[in-house]
């Protein structure tokens, strides 16, 4: 187990280097000039352009640019972007918001998704089951920006923004994130509900459940403890992996609700050909994703004793 974790951590190094290299290269080869549009209609003076390119090593050949950048990253400096913002500082400000948003979305997935899935699975073929199946299908098939805009209008704008602020309000940060978190998690809520249902239905047929009933356990204990514990293994794994993804920021949801998270920063960075912002952010996101996935794999081993990490 200990060795397994070390091995996994070591494996992250080449993945991280590879990821930064690819992102850096992609930004490097994007057409267009980063100084275009920086100085209004007149365009930038040649002196400014020269100084800008010098400052950001833009005239160096690609390998040298990459090496210089990587050197700084290793020293913990994610660099300063084209708009003179420290990328490290920006992420420090924005990451907690994104993390909260992701956590809340995960909470919605776990609570609503699992409850809906259990209700459907236990009453397979009944009304509630069909309700869950149809509604989850609807949610899964509607794009997130549609769900976001509709809910923003009906629950935010129409209700005056009292309960659900229409856009991010830094005076009520947590309250502002409830609706966005629901929107962000909506597809996954539906998926979790279906996954829970499918697994529960399967486990209700399992031999060990028959044993649980033969042991004289109540139906609720047989289902709620014996079947559910087995059914939730893939569900928890899915939610964990989804968490890793959501921590990468939610560009669409953040834009709809104007949330100052990582997603928006990344989006702006890409639009401005701002390699330093993009590469720095993506590097952190990849690292977080890999770490969360390692945790999920470890959790899987805990949840299912048949999995061994030795």
């Amino acid at each position: 187990m200990y060795k397994y974790v070390i091995r996994r951590l070591l494996q992250m190094i080449p993945v991280l280097i590879g990821a930064t290299f690819i992102i850096f290269y992609m930004v490097f080869s994007m057409p267009g000039d980063p100084t275009a549009g920086m100085c209004g209609d007149r365009g930038c003076s040649p002196a400014f352009v020269a100084q800008f390119r010098e400052e950001h090593n833009l005239d160096d050949p690609f390998p040298l640019q990459y090496a210089k950048y990587l050197g700084n990253v290793v020293q913990g400096d994610l660099g300063t972007n084209f708009r003179n913002q420290s990328v490290g500082f920006e992420l420090e400000q924005r990451y907690p918001i994104t993390a909260k948003l992701a956590l809340m979305a995960i909470a919605f997935e776990a609570v609503i998704g699992i409850i809906a899935g259990v209700l459907a699975g236990v009453r397979k073929g009944k009304f509630i089951d069909n309700l869950v199946l149809v509604s989850t299908l609807v949610v899964i098939s509607i794009p997130v920006f549609v769900i976001g805009s509709v809910l923003q209008y009906y629950l935010g704008v129409k209700m005056g923004g009292q309960i659900f602020p229409v856009t991010y309000d830094s005076a009520r940060p947590l309250q502002s994130l409830i609706l966005p978190a629901f929107v962000l998690g909506s597809a996954s809520i539906a998926y979790v509900a279906r996954l829970t249902r499918t697994n529960l239905v399967e486990n209700l047929r399992a031999d060990y459940l028959r044993t649980a009933i033969a042991k004289g356990l109540t139906r609720s204990r047989a289902i709620g403890v014996h079947a559910l514990r087995n059914s939730l293994i893939p569900v928890v794994t899915f939610i964990g992996a989804d968490f890793g993804g959501l921590l990468g920021g939610a560009i669409v949801t953040e834009r709809i609700f104007n949330i100052p998270g990582v997603g928006g920063f990344l989006f702006t960075g890409i639009r401005n050909h701002d390699g330093v912002s993009v590469v720095g952010t993506v590097t952190v996101l990849v690292l977080v994703f890999l770490l969360v996935n390692l945790l999920v794999d470890l959790l899987y081993g805990v949840l299912d004793p048949r999995i061994s990490h030795d």
């Binding site: 399992a206 031999d207 060990y208 028959r210 044993t211 649980a212 009933i213 033969a214 042991k215 004289g216 356990l217 109540t218 204990r221 014996h226 514990r229 087995n230 293994i233 949840l303 299912d304 004793p305 048949r306």
Partner: protein, 347 residues
Amino acid sequence: MTTDTQTRKSETPATSQYKPVDGLLLEVEDLRVEFHTEDGVAKAINGVNFDLHEGETLAILGESGSGKSVTAQAIMGILDMPPAVIPGGQIRYCGQDLLTMPEEQRRKTRGPEISMVFQDALSSLNPVFPVGWQIAEMFRKHRGMNKSDSLERAVKLMQRVQIPAAKERVKAYPHQFSGGMRQRIMIAMAIALDPAVLIADEPTTALDVTVQAQIMSLLQELQEERQMGLILITHDLGVVADVADKIAVMYAGRIVERADVFDLYRQPAHPYTKGLLESIPRLDQKGQQLAAIGGLPPNLMRIPAGCAFNPRCRYAQDICREERPELLTVAPGRESACHFAEEVLHG
């Protein structure tokens, strides 16, 4: 045979509200079970009758699909209903009909009164809980014991069923045991609350021959020690011959012959039993179509008129296709449901 439940071994005997009269534990009377499926109604059990006394071992023998497991599950009350329907019959435990009992009352009989061991211990144990936890659950849920006391009891039970290093292995998971050890754990769980009736549904079918014998003798030992009524289900007469007192042979959801083991073994009174004995399964075709009896068991949605066995029977005459033979006493202690039982018995 005793009439006193105090012979039960439990250290904390729960005062059972069920008292057998004259040692009579279980009376199954005209039990019927149907499965209502999309394809039609499968008549799995068609009027089964038997009694079980304290200290008695009844073997139920029959080919795969003859209704042995369904009978056991009907007694335990663990049939899925639907698709199963019980259109008739009684299952009396110490005089009380389990089938009409309120579910909550019946649930409380599962474990302390009637208990069951299944065929495949690997799939019958929950893969994600330690074996000790699963045994201890009996004490926690039925006796309200706390975690550590109940685990202690689990260790004792694991020692009783001869699991080596029980104390160390109480926290191990089912997949970490061999097949034989897993079945011992199932047995430990089933006898945890000192049931009066233990049903073992093909408890050794999934095991090696040597392990089979060990499990059988463990069951016999426990049965004698606790004076349980034991129902031993099998498709392999060889496995139960040493252990069982009485044998009931099932075919197409009916008991077609019933006798003491020795008598039946020596001199079957039903052509089906005779066929089974002539084909005592060879090891390499366990669970397969038996060689000496041609043909297949009937489709339970279209059981032949008359005697269900007639299409496969070498004794069959016109009467067998018209009139269903009842299970009748054909000699002292011998019952057979065959129009030609006399000929079979003496022929």
